[in-house]
């Protein structure tokens, strides 16, 4: 088995599991649309474009958080993580496969969120789409690792947002900047830099988080 086939098998397992149980994805979809509706009522009548875009990013981050708290739920409840760690594959493959499935969930959620945003609030530019795609990678990379970290603690659902949100601040800055600033390229570049740094760091440190 090569590294790539390990990753593909593990990612396929996660996606298949979700496809059969439908635990997480419907909740994320419903949440992101509800959040947008709540934001409509939270904004004043003459809402500005800046505020709307900012709220879209909040909705994305919190929807991701919803998915991430469930990312290792099956592994934890069924004691599956021990089995995975014992499997003769590189531990970072587990992280990469989980990242791929988290990105897949996020893409589906945003495939609903962005059209709803366009419908409720205003047009969605190409910068916003690129920024969301880049942010997904960063969110999945950091979030998967922190989800595994939080899975070892007693108060998992409570700890994960606290660990994740400070790390999500640069993503929000990059995302909001990309859709509002005059030069989106520098913000998109920043998001790509964030993805690279934290993907490498998470990839390298995942092994220490899951081994006993």
């Amino acid at each position: 088995m090569t590294y790539a086939s390990d990753v593909a098998a593990l990612a396929r397992k996660d996606l298949l599991l979700e496809l059969r149980s439908r635990d997480t994805l419907p909740a994320m979809l419903l949440f992101v649309v509800s959040a947008l509706v709540v934001f409509h009522f939270a904004l004043p009548a003459e809402e500005s474009e800046r505020a709307e875009t900012g709220l879209l990013w909040i909705a994305i981050v919190f929807t991701a958080l919803l998915g991430l708290t469930r990312a290792f739920a099956a592994e934890r409840d069924q004691g599956l993580l021990d089995g995975l760690v014992l499997a003769p594959c590189d531990r970072s493959a587990i992280w990469l496969a989980k990242c791929i499935s988290v990105v897949a969930f996020l893409v589906v959620a945003e495939a609903v969120a962005l059209p709803s945003f366009a419908l409720f609030f205003g047009p969605v530019g190409w910068e916003l789409v690129v920024a969301v795609a880049l942010a997904d990678i960063g969110i999945a990379a950091v979030g998967t690792l922190l989800s595994a970290v939080a899975a070892a603690s007693r108060a998992r659902e409570l700890v994960l947002p606290l660990l994740f949100l400070p790390l999500a601040i640069p993503i929000v800055i990059g995302g909001v900047g990309a859709s509002l600033a005059g030069n989106p390229a520098s913000f998109l570049g920043f998001l790509a830099l964030y993805d690279t740094i934290f993907a490498i760091l998470s990839w390298a440190s995942f092994e220490y988080v899951v081994t006993e």
């Binding site: 603690s153 660990l163 640069p170 800055i173 509002l180 913000f187 920043f190």
Partner: protein, 249 residues
């Protein structure tokens, strides 16, 4: 950094007798360092107040610079030290680095809180507001402070053991990656979302000011070092006591 050179002798004798715990050597190092800190801080503040020239724009209120910036740099030094110890823990799997990393984060958070308070006071005096989102360093510090506060939540909610040591270490390592990334983020956000209203008088300090600043910085680093050693000795004694109790039970 004075913290880095001095904590070497604060480390427990790993192969020493089981009931030494390095407490005695830690206390010795801590008291030497505390004396140095007291001398340097008193000297530095005296230099800053009576000798360094007054700032042309801000007048007397600029004096808080000699407290605020050294405290902030000390907090960064503590976080870097924590990350270094975390790295050592992950590479050697030696669990004594866990307490050292934890104590360094603890110091960093204390000095980080002081930075936020002194920065807030400075902001109030300079601009009349307790908080300004235009002041990048302060915003960056708030992000870093939130990040490291979550470190404690993680630690307190995980059962003690190798798993907790490694998770905390990985999180502490993420911190040193987050600091430059957030610095960059706040910087690019500052150029577009919030106009910069204030630039630090960093590079073009008169040498008297710079000297007073350096003495204050050295004093603050020694203070952090002595607190670190004292705290470490206390935490080690706690662990040793728990081990003894378990042995007796």
């Amino acid at each position: 950094m004075s913290t880095s050179s001095l904590s070497e002798d604060g480390r427990t004798g790993k192969a020493g007798p089981a009931f030494d715990f390095g407490v005695a050597s830690g206390r010795r190092g801590a008291s030497t360092l505390a004396l140095a800190a007291a001398g340097l801080l008193v000297g530095g503040i005296a230099l800053a107040l009576y000798w360094a020239p007054e700032d042309a724009d801000q007048g007397f209120s600029q004096k808080i610079f000699y407290l605020h910036v050294p405290v902030a740099l000390t907090a960064y030094a503590s976080f870097a030290w924590a990350a270094w110890k975390a790295f050592r823990l992950l590479s050697t799997r030696d669990s004594r680095y866990d307490l050292e990393s934890y104590t360094a984060v603890h110091m960093g958070v204390i000095f980080g809180l002081l930075t936020l308070v002194t920065g807030s006071i400075w902001a109030k005096i300079s601009w009349g507001h307790w908080w300004s989102w235009g002041e990048r360093q302060l915003v960056l510090f708030l992000i870093v402070f939130l990040f490291y506060s979550a470190y404690f939540m993680l630690r307190y909610s995980t059962e003690p053991g190798p798993r907790r040591e490694r998770n905390s270490a990985v999180y502490a390592l993420f911190g040193v990656a987050l600091i430059p990334v957030s610095f960059l983020a706040v910087r690019i956000a500052g150029t577009i979302l919030h106009p910069t209203v204030f630039t630090h008088e960093g590079a073009n300090l008169p040498w008297e000011m710079f000297l007073a600043f350096c003495v204050c910085l050295a004093g603050m680093l020694s203070l952090a070092g002595s607190l670190y050693l004292a705290e470490l000795a206390g935490k080690r004694a706690d662990v040793a006591l728990r081990d003894l109790r378990e042995l007796l039970a």
